[in-house]
């Protein structure tokens, strides 16, 4: 056995469990992780959030951005723990206010790539107001919304994206509220790049995140994930691997969706993956602010 191969069943050999010092150098993804942080992450075994984190790191790495040129802003929740593990500028804020703080950061530092990482409840319930208004302003922030259909960290309360009829700890007889379609909401509010993918399609998620970060205006990427610990257990959906397989089976690419007849599109219950909307004609907010206001204020 060569020294870098760590086999877990070799538990008698405790030296095999000590991380090798060159571990971070073995992969581009691992180099962007915070070196002084305790790993593994706090997420449950098999949670899709780790896949989203890997995709985000690969997207930033693909764009060739320096670590200091990227700021990650997060609120509260399972998803909002994500920036803790990454070696970029990070801002940890109150529940739902990630986009509010990110707006201030973007106006103060227009050259910085600001990414707001939010869960579905963080983005749409507590911070729903900030979400639609950031899209209305078209400010150059990337909103990464990880949709796991439930409030995972607080114990499985139903969220604005829990599907109709599904069980949550606060909806023991089934949820009676229709869910928010995140991408359609962002499109209607005026976002200039809207894409959706799932954690099973991780490389597609890389591509969409790369395009979203490169986009000038407000961009939204919905990463459909799962919570097997609360949502999956209450609704008897199986293990993490089962739920990931369900994402594979219950999603359809946008190119295939467009070929369906209108009746079939109407009856479609699968998750539509793809770039749902892109508009490069709207001007970005900080640039417009500089042109319309800052130049006039300075000339007075």
């Amino acid at each position: 056995m060569t020294d870098h191969i760590l086999e877990a069943h070799d538990l008698e050999n405790h030296e095999a469990l000590i991380p090798p010092s060159n571990w971070f150098e073995r992969s581009e993804t691992l180099q962007k992780l915070r070196k002084n942080k305790k790993f593994p992450t706090i997420w449950c075994a098999g949670c899709g959030l780790g896949v989203v984190m890997g995709a985000l790191i690969r997207a930033i790495d693909h764009l060739g951005l320096k670590n200091d040129d990227v700021a990650l802003v997060a609120g509260i929740g399972c998803t909002a723990r994500m920036p803790v593990y990454m070696d970029f500028n990070t801002l940890h804020t109150t529940h739902g206010r990630a986009l509010a703080f990110a707006t201030g950061l973007k106006i103060a530092r227009p050259g910085m790539k600001v990414i707001a990482i939010m869960g579905d409840g963080d983005a749409l319930a507590i911070g729903g107001n900030h979400f639609i208004h950031a899209a209305r302003r078209n400010i150059g922030i990337t909103a990464l919304v990880v949709n796991n259909s439930i409030y995972g960290m607080t114990g499985g309360q139903y969220s604005p994206t829990t599907p109709l009829g599904k069980v949550a700890t606060t909806a023991p007889y089934g949820n009676v509220e229709p869910p928010f379609p995140i991408c359609e909401l962002a499109m209607a509010a005026g976002a200039t790049y809207v894409a959706r993918s799932t954690v099973y399609h991780a490389l597609e998620l890389d591509k969409f995140l790369t395009e979203a970060i490169a986009q000038d205006g407000f961009s939204v990427v919905e990463a459909v994930s799962y919570c097997h610990t609360t949502y999956g257990r209450l609704n008897r959906l199986g293990t993490a691997a089962d739920m990931m397989r369900a994402l594979k089976d219950n999603s359809i690419a946008k190119s295939a969706y467009d070929k369906l007849s209108p009746d079939e599109q109407h009856a479609n219950t699968k998750i539509v993956r793809g770039v749902l909307h892109q508009n490069n004609t709207r001007m970005e907010y900080t640039r417009m602010y500089e042109q319309q206001i800052l130049t006039r204020v300075q000339s007075v």
Partner: protein
């Protein structure tokens, strides 16, 4: 449960069963939480769960095609796949 034959390092000395790209899988046990996603989804079934604990192990390294499914889908970033030349 049948025990896989021990292999020297991560690359088998057995003759290649096929042509095409090959990869070397490294699993970092201290980061792994044993969620089984890599074992259940690996297309050529390179990985399997270890007999003594709740972690995967590289059972058939010669089958790896460097498709990078396991390292992109490992939620704990505990797997690194290196494509062999």
């Amino acid at each position: 449960m049948t025990q896989p034959q021990p292999t020297e390092g991560n690359v088998s000395s057995k003759p290649l069963p096929r042509s095409g790209p090959r990869g070397e899988v490294t699993i970092y046990a201290t980061w792994c939480k044993g969620c089984r996603i890599c074992v259940e989804f690996c297309p050529p079934k390179v990985l399997e769960m270890g007999p003594l604990d709740n972690h995967p192990r590289v059972a058939y390294p010669e089958k790896c095609t460097a498709c990078h499914f396991c390292d992109t889908h490992c939620p704990d970033l505990a797997i690194v796949v290196r494509k062999l030349e």
